[in-house]
């Protein structure tokens, strides 16, 4: 408010000053003679009442005092600091004005002198402007008036709605149309409240109920149905342009957005008071912290309203100014019927909304942290909001963390024990070490380790060890091994590492050989000495038969024990043995000799990861000392370590996982600067976070917060003249097919004023009187005569009220896209009526979406259509075809088109054919004489008339000759009935509610 106040004060002071003069002063003369003509002939065309480019007006003193986007145009007494003069000269980076023909030097000099002399300007000129209107006009605008409590006309005998409507009808000599018949009425009510057709039994029950409140009972039943929220929640999701993708160039999926969708449905089902409903959507995260704890999660989820704002461009993080515009635009239209978004670049052209208003709200949202969905430039989502309150989460996670800490402590002590054993073994090894061969292989290389000349005498308990060493990085990644020891003389036994380990691998480390000796093969991490590896993973990466012993990620020994190659980081052939050294140490396979005698050692190593970074080396050693004791000592420690690792893995797998919402939290609070002409690169003055000037411009009190809580209070307030009216109008709209204000998202000067202003105010007052509850309004509306009248107008009203603006009959409407699909599934009895959860999006660590290959998958479901995936950059083929809501912009009311591509759906769509065939099967289960009845009952929820029966029989007769040729009469019958089902399901009677 203060800028207006400031401005008014200035004007007031000026008026006082001038009033004292009483005669034409010298400075008046200067202005009239040399300044006014210049301004009026050269400036005002672009900076006046018609157009005010850059927001600047030069047709009054107030105009240049307030100035345009860059602030005041003239600093009286200071020509050098006056933007007007800079512009006239084209200085200081400003475009020279006027652009086509600049002023002459003499003219500019005249203006400069005038400014230097104090810029005396006698033009009281024009009323004080507020956006596109004047303050006075804004104060008088109908939608900004406080709600009135209009007197209900008549004698109080009628439903007030009827009383209000009857006045205007009577003026034209009209009355309501006769009451709709009961079948029509229950069908109308059921679609209006649940988006589904009534079940045939429900129709029967209503037809049979002769009690005076039969219809009221139907309405109550429908209002308590869980499908009510799925219908009315959808109206809300239309308004808030709900979608399951972010909308930036690669259209990243929003795996958590569904919670908001379901929250909306649930809120309608619970009849959450509308003010609470709004407050939680705007500031649920802040309210959640105030308790109660059991409502924490849902309040956080509610702020999905803000989070689902559209994201833009390649790097959506860098384009949040567009997202805030989307938030502000949607917020203005959906909650208050105001087109605030128009004021991003300039003051609203028609309504009382300024650019400063826009940036005051902008500051509130820029002080809020929106969950980040990921985008091509930054594919990892972040800032999802946990559903658990911080304290609650701590108490959930603590036992888990304690248990982990206990395991870690035991692991540490096991590691120390292991270290001691390993050092002992190392000491023993070092004393008797004989290197048999060493070498290296380069990338993609392969070498034999011994050239076949490696005969050695061994005693039982000695070890032959093949170590693979890293060269530079990870050492050629995976290295395939052959390692064989053959007894010379004796029983001529052989020990082949691959053969033995393929089978024995899962049984433990060390592994037995194939001659019945335990503890022959040792898989070792030799960093710091010959340490037994303790961690075993079966079916690594989900690949059956790919088993590994390892210490952490590396070093590791693998076998692919399956009969087929596996594709992991590389292709590992069937039934092979691999090792992978660590970047900082070796991996080794030791053979602990079970015999005393002479053996020959052979084998080869081969780079198994083509194109890996570099080669590996090897060392083949013989330890001529009995190493059994320190090695065997490692076994029990290793088993313990293995057990601990397994327990830790299990624990981590089952860790309490915080569920997340796609929501918002408080960010860094700060006022936003104006963006001149909407360009974020041209920043102007900061604007305090505050409420719209036309409603008082109160600033945010708690500057440590974003201001959303205050904003929520300003909007969801009984004192806000728009909120209750706008929502009351929407409820009316979805019953009668049009709003009392026919432009439901625009209550401004460009919208259409209410056809029945008293009725609107009365309805809004009732809404408030009922504590912002919506269900009582449904009852009120649906029990009126206006709602219960026939869709067929009496002859006279089609002349007097052709557009039905007086409500002289009920307005027939086509089913919405969702209703069409849900009804098709309902009549085939294939509709899954349970609510849906999340969409089966791929896990986020697999996302590689780009603008070239955006996310674009439509998941099938037999759930209700509100649960279909909504993709911003690809219209859902079915919903798009039947005028579904725009997932990119608020949709206050669906369009209804009748295009031939829709007719093609009813002619040829496989889903439609399939469902009709199922309906036919349901009908064919009946005896022949009741089939026509059954079909009409299922599809149209009514008994066929005599004509209908004749129609059905006639059709089947005509269809019969063509199907008689069919060798299988059952198939022919089924086809004929399926066709008849399609006809009824494609008919206008099916598609329209009346």
């Amino acid at each position: 408010m203060h800028s207006i106040a400031r401005q008014s004060r200035k004007i007031w002071i000026w008026i006082l000053a001038v009033a004292g003069m009483g005669h034409l002063r010298a400075d008046d003369e200067l202005f009239e003679k040399s300044i006014r003509p210049l301004l009026e002939t050269r400036c005002v065309k672009c900076h006046g009442a018609e157009t005010s480019k850059g927001g600047l007006r030069l047709d009054s003193k107030a105009g240049w005092q307030v100035g345009g986007d860059g602030g005041p145009a003239i600093e009286p007494g200071k020509p050098a600091e006056s933007r007007l003069l800079l512009a006239l000269k084209g200085e200081d980076g400003m475009t020279r004005m006027p652009p086509k023909e600049p002023l002459s030097t003499a003219e500019i000099e005249a203006i400069s002198k005038w400014i230097a002399a104090g810029a005396h300007d006698p033009r009281v000129g024009g009323p004080v402007k507020l956006g596109g209107t004047t303050v006075d006009e804004a104060r008088r605008w109908w939608a900004f008036q406080p709600l009135r409590q209009p007197q209900v006309p008549g004698n109080g005998q009628r439903n007030p709605i009827d009383a209000f409507l009857a006045v205007k009808l009577a003026e034209k000599g009209l009355e309501f149309a006769p009451k709709a018949d009961r079948r029509t009425l229950i069908r109308r009510a059921t679609y209006d409240l649940t988006g589904l057709p009534p079940k045939p039994e429900e129709v029967d029950a209503f037809l049979a109920d002769t009690s005076p409140d039969a219809f009221a009972k139907v309405v109550d039943r429908l209002l308590s149905s869980p499908h009510y929220g799925e219908r009315w929640g959808r109206h809300w999701l239309d308004l808030v342009r709900y979608a399951d993708t972010a909308g930036e160039n690669a259209d990243f999926p929003l795996p958590h957005a569904w919670r908001y969708r379901n929250w909306v449905i649930e809120a309608f089902n619970r009849d959450m008071p509308y003010d609470t409903f709004l407050k939680e959507q705007l500031a649920g995260d802040i309210l959640a912290a105030e308790g109660p704890a059991d409502r924490y999660a849902e309040k956080v989820v509610a702020t999905g309203y803000l989070a689902i704002s559209r994201r833009f461009e390649h790097d959506s993080d860098q384009n949040m100014h567009l997202t805030y515009e989307d938030t502000i635009d949607t917020l203005g239209k959906s909650l208050m019927g105001l087109t605030i978004g128009c004021a991003r670049c300039h003051d609203h052209k028609y309504d009382a909304i300024t650019s400063r208003d826009y940036y005051s709200l902008y500051g509130i949202f820029a002080s809020t942290k929106y969950a980040f969905p990921g985008c091509e430039a930054k594919p990892r989502p972040r800032d999802m909001v946990p559903l658990a309150a911080p304290a609650e989460w701590q108490s959930t996670i603590k036992p888990h963390l304690d248990e982990l800490a206990a395991i870690d402590a035991r692991m540490k002590s096991t590691a120390e024990k292991r270290k001691a054993h390993v050092q002992e073994a190392q000491a023993r090894f070092e004393k008797a070490r004989h290197v048999m061969s060493t070498g290296e292989i380069s990338i993609d290389g392969e070498k034999s380790i011994t050239d076949g000349q490696a005969t050695v005498d061994v005693k039982a308990g000695e070890m032959i060890l093949l170590s693979i060493t890293p060269l530079k990085n990870h050492g050629a990644d995976s290295t395939a091994l052959d390692f064989e020891i053959a007894e010379i003389g004796g029983s001529g036994r052989t020990w082949n590492a691959t053969k033995d380990l393929l089978n024995a691998f899962p049984n433990g480390n060390p592994a037995a050989d194939s001659h019945g000796n335990a503890d022959t093969w040792w898989l070792l991490d030799t960093r710091g000495g010959p340490g037994l590896m303790s961690e075993f993973v079966k079916d690594l990466s989900g690949k059956a038969g790919l088993n590994v012993w390892r210490s952490g990620e590396t070093p590791s020994v693998f076998v692919n024990s399956s009969a087929a190659p596996v594709e992991v980081w590389t292709r590992l052939p069937a039934r092979t043995l691999f090792v992978h050294p660590a970047p900082d140490g070796n991996v080794a396979i030791g053979w602990l000799s079970p015999i005393t005698g002479k053996v020959n050692v052979s084998g080869k190593i081969r780079d198994a990861h083509a194109g890996g970074p570099d080669g590996v080396g090897w060392v083949l050693e013989h330890f001529a000392s009995d190493v059994r004791e320190p090695m065997i000592a490692q076994k029990s420690v290793s088993a313990e370590a293995r057990d601990l690792i397994a327990r830790k893995t299990e624990l981590e797998k089952n860790a309490p996982n915080p569920d997340y919402a796609y929501a918002v939290i408080e960010g860094q609070p700060a006022d936003a600067r104006m963006h001149l002409r909407g360009d974020p690169k041209k920043q102007g003055d900061p604007v305090p976070r505050r409420w719209l000037e036309v409603f008082g411009g109160t600033t945010v009190a708690n500057t440590k917060g974003s201001g959303r809580k205050e904003l929520a209070d300003w909007i969801a307030s009984a004192d806000n003249p728009l909120t209750a009216r706008v929502m009351g109008n929407r409820i009316w709209l979805h019953h009668f097919g049009k709003g009392i204000v026919p432009t439901p998202n625009d209550f401004g000067t460009r919208g259409t004023p209410p056809t029945h202003p008293d009725l609107l105010d009365w309805l809004a007052s009732e809404f408030l009187r009922n504590g912002w509850k919506i269900k009582p309004l449904h009852r009120l509306i649906m029990l009126s005569d206006a709602y219960r009248q026939s869709a067929d107008p009496p002859a006279e009203s089609s002349v007097t009220d052709p557009s039905n603006s007086l409500y002289s009959h009920f307005e027939r409407r086509r089913l919405s896209a969702e209703e069409i699909r849900d009804t098709i599934l309902a009549v085939s009895d294939k509709l899954d009526e349970e609510p849906a959860g999340p969409h089966p999006f791929p896990p986020s660590d697999q996302w590689r979406f780009t603008q070239h290959t955006p996310f674009a998958t439509f998941y099938e479901t037999s759930k209700r259509s509100i649960y279909l995936v909504q993709i911003r950059n690809r219209r859902h083929p079915f919903l798009g075809l039947f005028d579904g809501a725009d997932p990119n912009a608020t949709t206050p009311q669906r369009q209804t088109t009748a295009v031939p591509t829709q007719a093609l759906f009813f002619l040829n769509d496989p889903f439609f054919h399939e469902q009709a065939a199922i309906v036919a099967d349901r009908v064919l289960a009946e005896p022949p004489e009741t089939r026509a009845n059954a079909l009409f009952r299922i599809v149209l929820q009514r008994q066929p008339s005599g004509k209908d029966r004749k129609f059905a029989a006639g059709f089947l007769d005509r269809y019969a000759p063509s199907s008689a040729k069919d060798p299988n009469p059952t198939t022919a019958d089924r086809q004929a009935w399926a066709t008849l089902a399609r006809i009824l399901m494609a008919s206008n009677e099916f598609l329209f509610v009346e």
């Binding site: 160039n249 461009e313 384009n319 087109t339 955006p854 950059n873 009748a898 093609l904 006809i983």
Partner: protein, 463 residues
């Protein structure tokens, strides 16, 4: 064109079995509730329909239609630029001019230079108005593609085809008013042909090559006699329903939509079927007999569609991948150009032969150009360039053998008579008889336009 279509309709197999579509379209014209009924333009139109050829990914102007001798002479010279694609980009601290990879030649009587990338189009240059001073507002594919189609570079808005359909309706109700032949999905997806807030009837209908070019076009009831029975019964049932009610245009137009759909099942495949075209015609487009895909197929189908009264036909070459986006190597332009060069030249010749060239406006464009520079002169690719590119118009209402505007010496910026995307749109609408400032739609309190608050008709190119 109209007379020709009539003859087709009367001779079509549908006549006699149902309301004749030719008459139907006249009946519809009289029905003010039909959003697609033909409407009078703001002023006499020069073009009755548009064929909009869109090359996805960004065609290099300096390698195709914009010869720059200085770029060749200065090859390898360093330039200092604050360019959106290289600003703060590692490895792009220094920028060097880079000469074109194709030789330019004077072509036709007009002598306009076109490179060897498009020799066939070059051979038709005397029938083309080339705009060498195009520029746009975004250097990202998605946004520039959206801008080229809707005039909006961020927000979803109606497409130019939808605006045209909204402004003029359509002549033939057996076919949609706005058809998009797009074998692959373009950048920005279906927003490219969206009606957005305009009535849904104006939305582009996507046509893909193959068995079912439009969703649910192929009769599922194989026997057309049976489908006729089904439709007749549906109509009888609906009319019985209607007879018990007062006049309701919504019910009536839905009944009619089934007849149109029935017609579309025949007329659409027929329009897409090239069997009746002569060998000569196929040759013109570089098509083999029996070929039913490729850009040549798209171009010839486009001619057949405008012949049948479709208002706006868009052909998208490639899509959001494997397209003209030759960052890696400009040689890829050499792979793509032959796919479109002869078909486009063939389309121009064919329209002339058929006497359609005075009624049909052919528009060729891309979303932006490619940089006349790179981070080394040897870098084989070029980056996105929104400062300048080339487009062309041919046919109804535009000059022939004419060049409009120019870029600077190196093809860097549109320097002489720059034409922004908004100006381009204003000009196309103008040729269709529509004043872009008067073609508005009231949505959410604002009168929206294709050109937002911008756009000047490029009068210099009008014939």
């Amino acid at each position: 064109m109209k007379a020709f279509s009539r003859r087709r309709f009367v001779g079509s197999s549908l006549a006699g079995s149902m309301l004749m579509p030719g008459l139907l379209s006249e009946m519809l014209a009289a029905d003010s509730t039909d959003p697609l009924a033909p409407k009078a333009p703001h002023f006499p139109a020069r073009a009755k329909s548009v064929i909009f050829l869109f090359m996805s990914g960004g065609v290099s102007h300096v390698d195709s239609f914009d010869p720059k001798p200085r770029l060749i002479a200065d090859h390898g010279k360093q330039v200092t630029l604050d360019h959106p694609e290289t600003r703060n980009r590692p490895g792009y601290e220094k920028l060097f001019l880079k000469r074109p990879d194709w030789k330019f030649r004077h072509r036709g009587e007009s002598g306009i230079e076109v490179s060897d990338l498009f020799p066939h189009i070059g051979s038709q240059i005397d029938d083309i108005t080339l705009i060498r001073s195009m520029h746009t507002s975004h250097s990202n594919h998605y946004n520039a593609t959206l801008g080229m189609h809707t005039g909006s570079f961020a927000f979803a808005r109606p497409s130019i085809g939808a605006w045209t359909s909204y402004g003029l309706g359509t002549e033939n109700r057996n076919l949609p008013s706005f058809l998009v032949l797009a074998p692959q999905m373009p950048y920005a997806g279906t927003q490219v042909w969206s009606a957005d807030f305009l009535p849904g009837s104006h939305q582009g209908t996507r046509v893909v090559p193959g068995a079912e070019p439009i969703a649910n076009l192929k009769p599922r009831v194989a026997d057309s006699g049976r489908q006729r029975l089904e439709l007749d019964a549906l109509k009888a049932f609906d009319e019985e329903h209607l007879s018990a009610r007062h006049h309701d245009p919504a019910l009536e137009s839905r009944i009619r939509s089934f007849e149109t759909a029935f017609g579309m099942q025949t007329e659409m495949p027929e329009a897409l079927d090239l069997a009746s075209e002569t060998d000569d015609t196929l040759k013109l487009y570089g098509l083999q007999r029996g070929q039913s895909e490729g850009f040549g197929w798209q171009c010839l189908v486009a001619r057949r569609l405008v012949e049948r009264g479709v208002r706006f036909v868009e052909l998208i070459h490639t899509g959001s991948s494997n397209n003209w986006d030759s960052h890696g190597n400009m040689a890829d332009h050499g792979r793509l150009a032959p796919q479109v060069d002869q078909p486009i030249a063939g389309l121009i010749q064919d329209l002339k032969r058929k006497g359609l060239f005075d009624d049909v406006l052919v528009v060729w464009t891309t979303e932006f150009g490619r940089t006349p520079f790179n981070n080394t002169a040897e870098n084989p690719g070029r980056e996105h360039h929104d400062w300048a590119f080339s487009s062309f118009l041919a046919g109804a209402g535009v000059k022939r053998g004419h060049v409009h505007g120019a870029t600077d010496d190196h093809g860097m910026r549109a320097a002489v008579d720059p034409v922004h995307v908004h100006d381009f749109h204003a000009t196309i609408l103008h040729l269709m008889g529509l004043d872009h400032t008067r073609l508005t739609y009231r949505h959410a309190g604002r009168d929206y336009r294709l050109t937002d608050v911008h756009g000047e008709v490029v009068r210099d190119i009008l014939a």
